[in-house]
Every structure is written in C-alpha cells, then in structure tokens.
Amino acid sequence: MRRFKNKLALWIGALCAALAMIPLVSILYDVVKNGASSLNVDFLTSAPGVIGQAGGGIGPAIQGTLLLVGLTIIMGVPLGVLSGIYLSEFGDNPVGRVIRFLNDVLAEFPSVVIGVVIFTLIVLTFKSFSVIAGALALSIIMLPIITRSTEESLKLVPNSIRDASMALGIRRWRTTLSVVLTTAKSGVVTGILLAIARVAGETAPLVFTILGSQYFFSGLNSPMDALPIRIYRLALLPYPYAQAQGWGAALALTLMVLVVNIGVRLATRGRLYTTRSRA
C-alpha cells in the first residue's frame, strides 16, 4: 500500500509536469509552424514595407529590441543585483524591511501603469517618445525581479561560508562580493535571465514610451520600433501577409530570448554547476 501511494504521488507529479508543458509546447509549435516560412535574411534586416502591400521586414524592430534590452540591462542589472545584495546581507533592519516591501509592491505593478508613469514623467516632459523612456520603463519592470531573485539566491548561501571567509580576515565587502555572490552566482544569473526574458516581451509600456516606428535607429531621444510592438501592429492588420510576418516576428523574438539564455548558460557553465556538493 505504501509503495502504491509512493508510485501514485510520483505519477501525479509527473502528470502535472507534463500538463504544465502542454501550453509551452503548443505555443512553440504554433510559433514555429506559422513563423518559420517568413524567416529569411531579407525579412530580418529590412524596414517594414508599405502597409497593405506584401514585402518589407522587421529589421528596425530587431534593432530596437536589442538596443532596448541592452540599455535596460545596463541600467537594471547592476542596480537590481546591488539592491539584492543589500537586502540579503545588510537588510535585517527596519530600513531593509521597508525596501523589501516596496520592492514587492513594485514587482506587482501592472507594466502598463509603469508605461503611463514614464509617459507622464519623461515623454511629456521632453515632448518626444524615445528609446531612453522605453529602456527606463523596462528597467523599472526588471529591477524588482532581479532584486528579489538576487536576495533569495544569496540567502541560500549558508552562514558557515560567510563565517569561513570572515575568519580568514577577509573584509566584509570582499566576503560579500567574492565569496557569497560567487557561491550564489547560479541563482543570480537565472534571475537575471528570467528578468531579461520578461522585459524583452513587454508590449504595453513600450506603446507609451517608444511608440513604434517604421525606421531604423535615429537617436536615443526619438521613437523606435521593437519586436513586441511590431508583432502587435502586424497582428492587427487584416492582411494575410501581415499576419504571417507577425508570426515571423514572434518566432524571431522567441529565438532571441532562447539564444541569450543558452549563450549565458554556456558561458557560465562549469563554474555554475560545481555548487552542488557531493554531500
């Protein structure tokens, strides 16, 4: 009976895992099936054509997404990781608790609200939709995710590791950066990747900040296209060619996120997986 229960629990677990995979697989399948035919070098590199006529591509959108995500990483990752370090290592006090609470509130903000806030603060002030405004909105979305995941990863590092380092006469900041952060690197990197994937697909805040554009990059303070916006706009058009292009753009975005993920995993492999001790 006990073995039966054990088996049952195992199978239920496996079944749930399989169920959870269904949406993922079906989405991937649809995206690849409908998008693969559109993908070619010309589509990926040229600017959108005239609306209503086949032809043109998503070059500006890819450029815009790369630029946006790049700027967002530059602004969001260092700040998020440092905040996470503060909360985990020095945040056991009222200030830390307030910051942690506010951070959680920020994480639950609908992204469209953040878009509107940036629209009011930046776009209206400077009287222009801009790449900077978009990156700022995405950074604000990214920040709490990275802060939280960094904090949680660092908290998993046992105190005995901190003790060992402090007892060697290594200073606190050195211990934190070179021992604790290194030990938790795998979790921190995973959190950053999730946050990048999340912001790369954000649409709503971009509509309020970078607007979308038909043209390639023309300055940080001008409107710009990005893949989610392009997908949204193409999907709204009533022409079959546009929908095919939309699927193509969706596939391109999925592949970009995938490539970033695999790339970072490969680059940090070996050093990441030694964290599992044999005990």
């Binding site: 060992a164 007892a167 290594i170 021992v179 050093r271 005990a279």
Partner: protein
Amino acid sequence: MTLHLQTEEKQPLSREEILQPHRTLENSKVRTEDLDAWYGNNQVLKKLNIEVREHSVTAIIGPSGCGKSTLIRCLNRMHELVPRARTSGRVMLDGSDIYAKGIDPVTIRRRVGMVFQKPNPFPTMSVYDNVAAGLRLNGERNHSVLDRAVQQSLELAFLWDEVKGDLDKSGASLSGGQQQRLCIARALAVQPEVILMDEPCSALDPTATAKIEELIASIKGNYTVMIVTHNMQQAARVSDFTAFLYLGQLIEYGETTSLFENPVEELTERYLTGKFG
C-alpha cells in the same frame, strides 16, 4: 607521584597558579581577563580567565552549552558577528588587548585563524582557490607566492599528496575528511599565529579524525592551537593543556595528563567519568 612533566619542575603547576588571573605565564600567547560574553540577555561566559601557552595545544572540554565555542569565537572576534552578541573584559594577544579601541577585527582574524565544526570549503572554488582565498582576497596577486603558499599549506595539512593532481577540482568534491583538511590548509595559508578549532572532527570518521590529530601534533611547534572537543579521548591524545568549562565558567585548567589523572575538582572528575554532560 605523577610523572608527566618534561620540564625540570617536579610538581605540575598547581591549580591556583594556573587559574590566578592577570598573571603572565612564561610564553603566554593568549590571555583572557574577566571575559564575559552574551547572546542577547543570555550570558554564556562569566568572568573567564584563562591563559594559553605559545606553541602548545590546549583542549577545551565541557558539556554542551557551556560556552566552549563562544570562548574561542571571542578570541578572534568572530563572536561579535552574531546579531545581538557582545563581550566585555579583555583578551590579550601577545600582551595587547584585541578588544581595545581602534583595533580592526580583520587584523585580529588574520592572526588568529579558525577551523569550524562542519567542513565548509567555498563550494564554487577549486581546491587551489580555496587555499589561496585568504591571501588572494586580501590582495596577494603574485602567482609564485600563491603557488608556494598553497603547496606549503596543503603539505602541512597532509593533503598535498592526495590532491596535487586535482588542484582544479571543486573543493566540494573531496571527501568529508579531505574537506576538513582543506579548511585547515585554507586557515594555515594566511599564516596565523593561533589556530582555533571548533570540534573539527565531530563530523568525521575515525580514520579522518586520526589524520587531523596527527596534523595537529605536527603543526604545534609553529602555531598555538586551541581545540574545542566533545571527545575526551581526543583531548587526552592531542593536547598539552586542558580546560574544563561548565556553565560559562572555567572550572579546572591544567596539564592534560594531570587533569585527566587527578582532577582537583569533583565536577571535573564527574564529567570525565561520564556521570554528567
């Protein structure tokens, strides 16, 4: 008559002589003066006076919760890292107070190294990086200096022959006993004067324990070793002096052989014979 003194003295130091506070032994390395320690409101050390000889091994024994670990954590200022922990009294290292104003605890920890109960190598670092960590993270960049320090420390810890081909392997991939010797090598690499060991063998099997005891015997000529242990046979085997602590107080302290053979205090005798603790 007991015959356990190699020195010219015929009588072992009397209890009064050893316990007398503020008296400087010859070759005293560490001396506490009325050391109190608290965790929050819980006082774990009470006016503790103990004097430790240079280049000797001193064992600290006593029942759980008597303050053994706290005592040694006070000697390299690790105690204060625990939230709400504090101390009062003085701890003299080579005659100067490590709790004096303006003393940087980091400089004390470089002179007084520590080995913990559970082996705690840095899990993401290789064997080499573990041993080099103390030097490297304090700014040593010279490769030949690091190489030499790593080899010497691993040799002192009797680990070199077992790992010399796998210096790039993860420290966490070693066996438990090897990990503990790696931790000892890591502590030795920064060339401390005093090594504190907090039950270093309690997580190890008898073979691994024997290796560590052999190691302690071999390094004591150059270091002052203090070892907390629950294992009375171990205290008898490795130490020159033994201190018996009970409820935060030093009950008896003397040469190991005399303390084990004729304890002066009844409490000590009862503890040694397993009647409590």
